[in-house]
């Protein structure tokens, strides 16, 4: 029987009322079921319109060697301090780099899988400690400075690594003289592993270690034999432990947190400066300042990079435009050696690729710059890792430069290597 007009109106009104009830309810419950918000990882620096803009810009600049004569053209894509050391050739020498097209960094499928598995479950507690982290990058879409820093802390890198840094200089730019150093770095992740089996944790890890690192100094001769050991813990509230084998005393010496701020062996960096920041994330307060398109090195060939006296930086590097997170960092320790640090963090690899560090008087003291290279492990895992480090004292014009090559250490891990007892035994 055909509905009357009144009935039709009634059904229409019922439909509208139902929609007005159901839609808001759906909106309320949909986040719980991930319906409305799509979780994506990895997220490239550029896509869509932004990528087109970058490609258009690269038509002019990709392939160009940037030095003091043309650096003004890319000034907006460089931190101010980085621009200064390239622009003022009279002071800093003729430094240069080559621009290459942006290329998204590939993350290992297992790392993507672990990140997505825990997405939405990790959080930061009231004491600034990361909770519920199992493996993978902590936050797929960080919105605060501390979330970006925990992504740095949980960045997708290889779980077992050896890097031979036999091209390392302490460079005095005023006297144009360099002293040579060398180090062999071994790193093993015991927990939060996402690239190499066993995942996410080694079968025996009684001390609850997150990561162990050993630095064997191989040059100069009097430093050869000195070994530094660092232990980081899964419990992020726990302070890191450090030991040093001192060959002259034939003893292991424990390091305390103050010693992490000491500039040892005449270098321009302390323990905390490694990787941009090498300490517990919760030691600092963070503020996400902005996103910043800058030129940074991510697809370098280490063998092409070289050091030349008279210049202040590594030469032969390539840099591409990436859309970094800029995080301002202030230590919770009022007596900390830096009043402020600013980090430029790569949103794909989560490495700190550049940082400015300020002294207690608020003056720019140091710049740190890292270039990445792409490696493939013998198991076919692609990963990115630093191939050059630069720690430069801008005030005194002195720099520590290091270039390293990753060697494949996969499958030969030995957790007992990363204990003070073994440090004593190796050192002797």
């Amino acid at each position: 029987m055909e509905a009357t007009m009144t009935q039709k109106y009634f059904y229409a009104i019922k439909g509208v009322v139902a929609a007005l009830i159901i839609i808001p309810v759906l909106c309320m419950i949909s986040p719980l079921y991930g319906i409305a918000e799509e979780i994506r990882y990895p997220v490239p620096c550029y896509e869509g319109k932004n990528l087109k803009k970058v490609r258009a810009w690269e038509k002019t600049w990709a392939g160009k060697k940037i030095d003091h004569t043309n650096v003004d053209g890319v000034k907006e894509y460089m931190p101010d301090s980085w621009y200064e050391v390239h622009k003022n050739a009279d002071v800093w020498g003729k430094n240069s780099f080559t621009i290459v097209p942006y290329k998204q960094i590939k993350i290992a499928p297992s790392q993507v899988e672990w990140t997505l598995k825990q997405a939405g479950k990790t959080y930061i507690d009231d004491n600034d400690y990361l909770q519920n982290q199992v493996a993978g990058t902590a936050f797929t879409k960080p919105t605060t400075g501390i979330e970006v820093m925990y992504n740095f802390d949980t960045k997708p890198t290889i779980d077992e690594r050896q890097q031979l840094m036999d091209d390392m200089y302490l460079y005095d730019h005023r006297r144009k003289s360099a002293r040579k150093f060398g180090a062999d770095v071994h790193v093993l992740k015991m927990a939060e592993r996402s690239a190499i089996a066993p995942m996410p944790e080694l079968p025996t890890n009684p001390r609850g270690l997150l990561q162990g690192s050993l630095v064997f100094y191989i040059a100069p001769p009097e430093l050869k034999g000195t070994i530094m050991l660092d232990n980081q813990y899964k419990d992020r509230s726990r302070e890191w432990d450090g030991w040093m084998w001192i060959a002259a005393l034939r003893r292991v010496r424990r390091q305390d947190t103050t010693q992490r701020q000491d500039h040892r062996f005449g270098m321009d960096f302390c323990s905390d400066d490694q990787n941009g920041w090498f300490g517990r994330v919760a030691r600092n307060k963070y503020k996400l300042l902005r996103r910043h398109d800058i030129l940074m090195g991510r697809h370098n060939i280490p063998q092409d990079i070289y050091f030349e006296k008279g210049t202040f930086l590594w030469q032969g590097t390539t840099r591409e435009r990436i859309n970094t997170y800029v995080v301002e960092t202030v230590s919770k320790d009022p007596q900390y050696l830096y009043s402020k640090m600013i980090f430029w963090i790569d949103p794909e690899t989560w490495f700190i690729l550049y940082s400015d560090k300020y002294d207690r008087q608020g003056r720019l003291w140091k710049i740190n710059s890292y270039c990445l290279a792409s490696y493939t492990s013998k198991d076919g895992i692609q990963y990115s890792e630093k191939c050059t480090n630069l720690h430069a004292d801008i005030q005194r014009k002195h720099a520590t430069l290091a270039r390293g090559l990753d060697k494949d250490l996969t499958g030969v891990y030995d957790i007992t290597h990363y204990t003070p007892a073994e440090l004593n035994r190796i050192g002797e």
């Binding site: 040579k180 009684p206 001390r207 100069p220 305390d256 302390c270 073994e422």
Partner: protein
């Protein structure tokens, strides 16, 4: 004189030529030798040092040491795979001391107070092949087991400047300076060490067993008429040489009864590294063998022939515990060590005390290590902190008895009669201009006696050359300890 001069002169010239020829600034020499794809690593140093006395006693010696020392370390990786790792390691040490050639008084003092020309030859250089070889061992790693066999120098315990638990190797004090290089100070011993380091034991415990083959080595004492004896009266009749010779002659033979062994357990508990250890050994520097030994000692001094044993080397045990912990509230590392020695000591009066008594010597040491922020200086010097290490040592001789009737007492630590003594040692080190300039100050205060100070200034301009000048000072009221004061100059090339 000319003949003596030519040989060392040519030696120095040859070595310097090699260094200059290969190029001190070239990349090839920038790092230690790595051969066979880094399987063979060699490093070492060539050092030329001069000790100049600032006070002279009756011997009137100005230059007590003028030495060229070559140290070479080598490590060869024999096998390295997922299951095994075997490497061979060696440390060699050779020196030639020209002090007798440039200072006639030094030469005469050695000849007169020790065993004549033979002693002078020993002073100039080590003549024993095995003395030149400090370490030579095979290191084998297999799973959780690690074995090290061969001639080794071992470091147990936490303290570095005075021995508490670090008593495995005898000492070589022939050219003792204040706070010497530890590689030079210890005598290697042939031993077997077995380590068991499982990854999953409770408190991260690991074990070390140490077995020293029956190859007893004594403390290496200096020749008579040399540095350590300055301030004391010269011994007549080459007496000291005879006593030194007898120390070698009287030492225990190489039989299994003279094997030494020890065990060490290490762990980490509540963020504290700890060690428990036990070592059974013999006294390295000998005790006078009772009244018979004492009378033979007198014979030596009077120039009468020695007909019987002078020294004995009794067994003793030592057990101890050490720990190390970072203490965040005081931004320091605290290290502690306690060792109980069950040892024999001389009993009687005077230096030729005839009796031997067994006593327990308890040594405790507490150290605080700290990096100190110096206002103005630390910020100006690129946040270079002052390194400081302060240790309090307490020695207590348990069951100590002083016989009021006879006046006899137990002598320990060579002269001490008190039941306890305390020593405070400090070390401060710093670095200027990116560690090109490295001053160090070391200080030891014995509450019962001597104060020892060392001021050291090191200049490290490049990768290889090291220049150092230091001043050693000893103060002891009413005594002649200041005769130990000296300036020391050193040029060292590291390769």
């Amino acid at each position: 004189m000319k003949k003596i001069f030519i040989k060392p002169f040519l030696l120095i010239l040859a070595v310097l030529t090699c260094i200059l020829f290969t190029g001190t600034g070239s990349d090839a020499f920038m790092k230690p030798f790595d051969l066979f794809g880094r399987d063979l690593e060699i490093k070492g140093s060539l050092q030329h040092s001069l000790d100049v006395r600032t006070h002279r006693d009756v011997r009137d010696i100005q230059f007590s040491s003028y030495r060229t020392t070559l140290r070479v370390e080598a490590k060869y990786q024999l096998i390295k795979n997922n299951k095994f790792k075997i490497s061979l390691y060696s440390l060699g040490h050779y020196y030639h001391d020209f002090a007798g050639s440039i200072d006639d008084h030094q030469r005469d003092a050695i000849r007169n107070e020790d065993a004549g020309s033979h002693a002078l030859k020993n002073f100039r250089r080590t003549n024993e092949g095995e003395e030149m070889l400090k370490e030579l061992y095979l290191d084998i790693r297999w799973g959780n087991w690690k074995v090290r066999m061969g001639k080794q120098i071992v470091s147990w315990g936490e303290t570095a400047f005075f021995q508490v638990g670090d008593v495995i190797n005898p000492l070589d004090v022939t050219n003792l300076k204040v706070w010497p290089d530890f590689d030079d100070l210890k005598v290697g011993l042939w031993m077997l060490r077995v380590f068991y380091v499982p990854p999953d034991w409770w408190q991260n415990i690991s074990l070390e067993l140490l077995f020293i083959f029956p190859d007893f080595e004594t403390t290496r004492l200096p020749q008579g008429g040399t540095g350590l004896f300055f301030g004391g009266n010269p011994m007549p009749n080459n007496a000291f040489g005879k006593l030194l010779h007898h120390m070698e002659h009287d030492k225990p033979g190489n039989d299994w009864n003279n094997a030494e062994w020890g065990i060490r357990i290490r762990g980490i508990t509540c963020d504290t590294d700890w060690n428990l250890f036990y070592f059974r050994s013999r006294i390295d520097d000998g005790l006078v063998n009772g009244s018979r030994g004492a009378s033979q000692m007198l014979n030596a001094i009077l120039g009468v022939p020695i007909t019987d044993r002078i020294y004995r080397f009794p067994h003793y045990h030592i057990a101890g515990f050490s720990f190390s912990r970072a203490v965040a509230p005081i931004r320091s590392v605290i290290r502690g060590e306690i060792a109980l020695n069950f040892k024999d000591f001389q009993y009687g009066s005077g230096p030729t005390a005839s009796g031997i008594r067994t006593r327990k010597l308890l040594i405790t040491a507490l150290t605080i290590d700290r990096k100190i922020f110096i206002p103005w200086l630390t910020p100006w010097n690129r946040m270079r902190y002052l390194g400081a290490s302060i240790t309090w040592y307490h020695y207590a001789l348990l069951g100590h008895k002083h016989d009021k009737g006879t006046g006899a007492y137990v002598i320990w630590d060579k002269t001490n009669r008190d039941s306890s003594k305390d020593t405070l040692s400090m070390m401060f080190d710093y670095g200027f201009y990116w560690d090109y300039i490295l001053p160090t100050f070391q200080f030891a205060y014995d509450f019962n006696g001597t104060t020892t100070l060392a001021y050291i200034l090191k200049y490290a301009p490049g990768d290889h050359w090291r220049f150092q000048v230091s001043y050693q000072q000893k103060n002891e009221q009413g005594r002649t300890a200041h005769m130990q004061d000296q300036m020391m100059f050193s040029i060292q090339y590291e390769f």
